[in-house]
Every structure is written in structure tokens, then in C-alpha cells.
Symmetry: C2
Subunit: 430 residues, 2 copies
């Protein structure tokens, strides 16, 4: 048997402990598949005394994470600390500069600094891999980088945040409102104490920007992702959508075309005959559209220690096999700087929900605002008065320019009859 692949792990939270458990449980099988054993040589975390359910005594303990680079003569440093900057980024830079391969599950860091790190990795001829950063255990980066590599990919979109999908699925199946379900998800450990990265769509945007770069061969552009989360989705929206044959999902959409690179994370109405409509609970799913392969669909568990560890160790097996190349499927220097396409240039169908005062002429005002902005209405539903006397109006438009919707909503928002902010969701196309 050839030399083992020696790894040092930074961060021993649930994922770090999961990686160790996986390597201990499946070690023999991994060695057969990888052609050599994968061996943990050193670990580092904040608290040495914490019980993590795994025996760490056989590994060198390193108090100072930054010193892990030189511990135990590791071939690969595995970073599971998290955070876009700070110790994780320092470790990435020093590891790659020292000529060590680097594996991470850190989507925030890769979204912000992936290009810089890829350049160092390529210059040093080592691996930078981050399968676990997107869709947990689902090999979607590999699917795009390698499986679909023969295709010009026009679209990549999907359900990239399990917490949001869990909440939306539960709101749907139980008819309950957002705040209540979020509180329950937090109690169950499906949502963080500070859930904003998840529910405001930032986490999904990190992942989308990574996928888009690999799918389209464009430079990562996290700042160009238009992001709206699920905070303002009501149980009533889900009910209206259901009545029309849709489910509501937080979908990250990336498209590359003649108008540039479009990236958006937003709640969408997904038709029931679309596979994303059947992605429930905390599952993740990604769709990619290639010019020869057509539509590919990947689904699985997007979070949790087992799935994330599975993706981390898959990266390690690739490295052990020597089967790795440029992190973004092509050399970082050759990624193109695509101009961002503005949402205002796009066309689509929209769902608009308004709370309005229950008085004469309100519907006429809404209809006029839509007409004046050039928005064509496909369906309109008005439900009886709420407890506060307001009335809910839900509209689905025909396909048209998004800027017309924006214009209509701007006008309506300033109307005395419209209470609060209108809700605007996109209808996912074919």
C-alpha cells in the first residue's frame, strides 16, 4: 500500500467530529477506493476538553489553529471552522502558500475569497476543494465541474438552503405562519439562534455564486447576487399559491447569456409539475441546463454532519487519487468577468400580494396601476377581510418585463389604500 494521505483538521464542531467518525467507520473501504488510507494526523479546535463523541487521543492536538499547517507533516488541511474571514481565511492562505492541499466546507469564505485562493492553489499545484460548501452531501460541484463539463450551461438553479426549505415545507403542510415555524425550527436545531444568514437568503447566495462560477466559467460575483429571503412569506401566500397549483420555495437562480450574468435568490412560485416543488423538508436540490445534456437534477441532504462529512471526504479521496484540477473547472485566470444582468432587464411572470383597505375602489386602483405600468394580469384573487379589516389581494401576472411590475408596485406602495409593503415573488419558468 502506498503512503497514506495525511490530513490535519481545523474545527471540531459537529462536522469536524463527523469527518473523524466517517474516516474511522469507513476507513478500510476508503483506502480501497482511494488507493491509499486517509489518516488524520492532527486536529485543532477552541476547546480541548469538550466531549465530541470521538476519541481524539490518537491525534496530535494543536492549540493554535494557525500552527496546524506545520503539524504532523500533513498533506491536506481540512478547514471546518467557518466564517468568511478570520482564522479560516488565514489558515487557507497559509496552508496553500505552504503547498498543502486545502479542503473546506466554508461557503462564505469561498464565495468571498475563492478566486484568490484558487490562484494560490494553482500556482502551487495543490488542490483547493469545497464540495461540502454547496448542497452538503450532494456532489453538485463535481456534477457541474466534471459531469456536465462538455456542456455550455445556460442555467443553474436550486434549493440551496435546507433551513428555509424546512420552514416553507412546514408552513405549507401545517398552514402556520413564518415566525411560529421558525421558533420551532430553532428549538429542533434546524435553524440557528441567529437565523438571518439562512432566512434572509445570504447563505443560499454564497452557494449560488459558487455554482454559477463553475457552471458558467465566470469570475465569482457574490456581490452581484440579488437577495431576498423568506421572512415576509405568509401562510396566506402559500395557500394562494397552492390554490393556483404552485408551491413556494426559496430558489437561487443563475443564468448566463448574451445579457450577462444574472444571479438571484428569491422566494419563487414553483409549479407542481416541476421537480423542485417536490423537494421537501431540509433537502437541497440543484438543476442545471446544458446545451447537450438537457436538464440535470441532483437532490439530497444539504446539511448535517453525515452528509457534510461525506462531501469533505469525497474531496479527500479525489486528492488521494490525484484526481483534481483547477477548483473552478478551468484556471482561475481564464474565468471571464461577466457583466451582471439587472433584474429590470428581465421578463417573467410574477406573484404579487397586497394587503389593502376594505373599501370601494381599491381593486380599480390596483388594476389601473398594473395597466398603467403595462402589466397584464393572468389571475386575481381577493379574500374576505382579515381580523384587522384589511383584505388580501393576490395577483399572478402574464409574462412581461420585471421593470413594469416594479413600477406598478412603486405606485401602489405610495397609495393610502395599500397597507404595508406588497409582496413580490417570481414564478419559476418551465
Amino acid at each position: 500500500m502506498t503512503q497514506p494521505l495525511r490530513i490535519a483538521i481545523a474545527g471540531l464542531g459537529t462536522v469536524g467530529a463527523g469527518v473523524i467518525r466517517l474516516i474511522e467507520t469507513n476507513g478500510e473501504l476508503i483506502a480501497r477506493r482511494a488507493g491509499r488510507p486517509i489518516e488524520v494526523v492532527a486536529v485543532s479546535a477552541r476547546d480541548r476538553s469538550r466531549d465530541r463523541g470521538v476519541d481524539l487521543s490518537r491525534y496530535q492536538w494543536v492549540d493554535d489553529t494557525a500552527a496546524l499547517v506545520h503539524a504532523g507533516d500533513a498533506d491536506v488541511v481540512v478547514e471546518l471552522i467557518g466564517g468568511s474571514d478570520g482564522p479560516a481565511l488565514t489558515l487557507a492562505r497559509t496552508s496553500l502558500s505552504a503547498g498543502k492541499s486545502f479542503v473546506t466546507a466554508n461557503k462564505a469564505m469561498i464565495a468571498h475569497h475563492g478566486l484568490e485562493l484558487a490562484e494560490v492553489a494553482e500556482a502551487k499545484g495543490v488542490a483547493l476543494k469545497f464540495e461540502a460548501a454547496v448542497a452538503g452531501g450532494v456532489p453538485v460541484i463535481k456534477g457541474l465541474r466534471e459531469g456536465a463539463a462538455a456542456n455550455e450551461i445556460s442555467q443553474v438553479f436550486g434549493i440551496l438552503n435546507g433551513t428555509c426549505n424546512f420552514i416553507l415545507s412546514k408552513m405549507e403542510s401545517e398552514g402556520r405562519d413564518f415566525a411560529e415555524v421558525l421558533a420551532e425550527a430553532q428549538a429542533l436545531g434546524f435553524a440557528e439562534a441567529d437565523p438571518s444568514f439562512d432566512i434572509d437568503g445570504v447563505d443560499a447566495a454564497h452557494k449560488l455564486s459558487i455554482l454559477a462560477s463553475i457552471a458558467f466559467g465566470t469570475r465569482p460575483a457574490f456581490d452581484a447576487v440579488a437577495v431576498t429571503g423568506i421572512r415576509h412569506v405568509l401562510a396566506a401566500d402559500i395557500a394562494e399559491a397552492a390554490a393556483l397549483g404552485y408551491r413556494i420555495r426559496l430558489v437561487g437562480v443563475g443564468e448566463a447569456g448574451p445579457h450577462g450574468l444574472f444571479q438571484r435568490v428569491h422566494p419563487h412560485l414553483v409549479p407542481l409539475d416541476h421537480p423542485l416543488a417536490h423537494v421537501t423538508g431540509s433537502l437541497n436540490a440543484v438543476v442545471a441546463e446544458g446545451n447537450f445534456v438537457g436538464r440535470l437534477f441532483f437532490q439530497g441532504r444539504g446539511a448535517g454532519d453525515g452528509p457534510t462529512a461525506s462531501a469533505v471526504v469525497a474531496d479527500l479521496i479525489d486528492i488521494a487519487r490525484g484526481e483534481f484540477g483547477p477548483p473552478y473547472a478551468m484556471p482561475a485566470a481564464s474565468l471571464t468577468a461577466a457583466a451582471p444582468e439587472q433584474a429590470s432587464e428581465r421578463r417573467g411572470r410574477a406573484y404579487v400580494r397586497l394587503h389593502v383597505a376594505d373599501k370601494v375602489g381599491v381593486l380599480a386602483e390596483i388594476a389601473a396601476a398594473m395597466r398603467d405600468a403595462g402589466v397584464s394580469i393572468e389571475s386575481l384573487m381577493q379574500r374576505g377581510a382579515n381580523a384587522d379589516g384589511s383584505v388580501l389581494v393576490a395577483i399572478v401576472t402574464h409574462e412581461g418585463p420585471e421593470r413594469c411590475i416594479a413600477q406598478a408596485l412603486e405606485k401602489l406602495e405610495s397609495s393610502a389604500s395599500v397597507l404595508g409593503r406588497p409582496m413580490w415573488m417570481h414564478v419559476l419558468g418551465g
Copy 2:
């Protein structure tokens, strides 16, 4: 730019022409992703004069396929002739023995001779790749071989034949019978003039045996696949299944466990909340269950020139990148020879449909046969008399040993009241 990867293509049917069209269309992008261009240097097919919609004048034409190995100094021979033996196998053997990498879409050949060929490829240090042999454009071999490589995989199952799924979906949506829909599928080009490989499950069995070997690390064992096709599925079965909350799909199931290796292709009742129930038309889909990642689901187009060419060229890109290893994820010599598990040893729920004479005591006879064999009935439906005076009885059993069902059916088959052969389908578990 480094040296191009030079390829020679044998077989210029729709897939062969598709590979050339893909390389011509996406050539520049492929070169960026692969690190070097992929260049067709020679082609061979039976009929030089046939119009294939691609310009072949720039490639060396080789009349004798066997001579392709030495044509144009190719690095890789791409075989798209088909057939488990004959010219395809000869070409595979001579190419690999000559130290050329070999890419094929030929599931029959890989199912029967993959192990032998892998041994030669490994001895020569060249690639043998066959992503296109299973599920067309869906990167499921890569998904198992690499994406799920960290996992002990207990199950792999899926919809592996697009023709059968097209027929079953159409029977379902239109309430029509098998023969009629088959004839239409043949007219549309979705089914071959001789459809038996597809509809009798042999094609799915080829693919299942390939997946099972990669998933479980076991020696390919095509002959151990128990195969039943969809010929005897009635529109009435689909209607009964629908009434019970199921759809009928031809599912290939592979399982590895303490009782050995189980491989079966059979029509199954798939619960509506299972993702395979939503795989319609000619799509393919594969589910794999890993001990850390949980359930992975892959779906896409399983046939056609575009998807198949996409998979063939993905293999070529891996080879151009130097990112390939043992074809079966581990050295062929280290694959284990698992004992086949017999269906009679298994437990499950069953759907049984009988045509019986419309006379007193028949139901009692059926119920007694089930009871005597130890089969517990969950539901039983009897529909009014058919035109021929027979009555259809559909039974779903509770979970129990399959051998008990077999025993009950054997008894009933010999009964004068039972007309024709009973239909037995399995209910797909969780």
C-alpha cells in the same frame, strides 16, 4: 496550450454523430475546461456515404473498424457501435492492449466484459470509462465512484430504461394498454423495432449490474440479476395502483448486505411521495443510499444523442485532465465476489393481480391460498366482470417473506378458477 487529446471514433450512428457535433459546437469551452483541446482524428463506420448531418471530411476515414486503433495516432478510442461482443469487444481489447484509453456507451459490453477490460486498462495505466452506459447524460457513475466514495453504500436503485418509463407514463396518463402504447413509441422512435431488450428489462439489468459493482465494490454479476420486464403490465394494474396511491415503474434494485448481493429489475409499485414516482416520460433516475450521506437522487435524460454525447465527452475531459483511476472505483482485482442473495430470502410488500372466473367461491379460494402460505393481505379489490366474463382481483399484501407469495401464487396458478398467469409486482419500500 498543451497537446490536444486525440480521439478516434468507431460508430457514427446518432450518438457518434452527436459526439462530433458536440465537440465542434463546444470545442473552445471544452478546451478551457479540459486544459487542452479534444480533437477528433479518425472515424470509422459501416457506411461512408450516409448523410449524418456532420462534416466528416476533415477526419481520417477508416473502413475497417479494427484498424482504428492505429489510425491518426489517437490517445483514446471511443466505441459507439454497440453489442456485447463482436467488433465492439474486439476493438476494446485491441485498444486497451495497445495502451490506448477507451471510452464507450456500450452497457451490454461493459455488463458482460467490463471486469476483463478494466484489468487490461489498469495493467496498461490507461483509462476505461463508460459514464454514458448508465442513465445517459446523468453523471451517476461519477456520482457513485467519486461523489459518494466516502460512503458504504447499502442500496442503489432507479429507473434505468427510458423506453419503459415512457411507455408506463403514457399508459398511466392515457389509460391505454401496453401493446398500443408500445406501437406508438416505436412509431415515434422511442422504442426499437425489436424492443425486447428494453421492455423485457435486459437493458436495465445491464445498467444495474454496472452500478451495483461500482456502488458496492463487488465483481460485476449480470447473470445474477433477476429480470422481469413490463410486457404484462395492464392498464388495469396502473389504475388499481393509482387508486391505492402508487405509480408503476420498472425499477432496478441493487442491495448489498449481510445476506449477499441482491439485484433485481422488476415492475414496482412506487408510492406517490417517493421521488421515483415523479420521474415521467423517458427520464432516468438513480437513488443511492450511503451510510453518511443518506439518500442521493440523480435525474436527467437517459438516452438520445445529446445526453449520451455529453457523458462520452465528460469522460474524455476527465482523461484530458488526467483525472481518472480504476473504472470500478477500486482496482478490479480487489472487487469482492459477493454471493447472490435469492429473492426467496427477502421480505417485502407485494401487489398481486389475478384474472379469475366470475363464480361462487373464487375469492374464498384466493384468500385460503394466501392464508395457507402465510401471506397477510392488506387490501383486496375486486372489479366487475370484463368482456370475457373474467373478474380482476388486485391484492396488496403486508410485509412478509417473498417465498410465501411465491408459494401462494404457485397454488393459485394451478387452480381452474384462475385464468392466465397472476401478475406479481413489488412495492418499493421507504
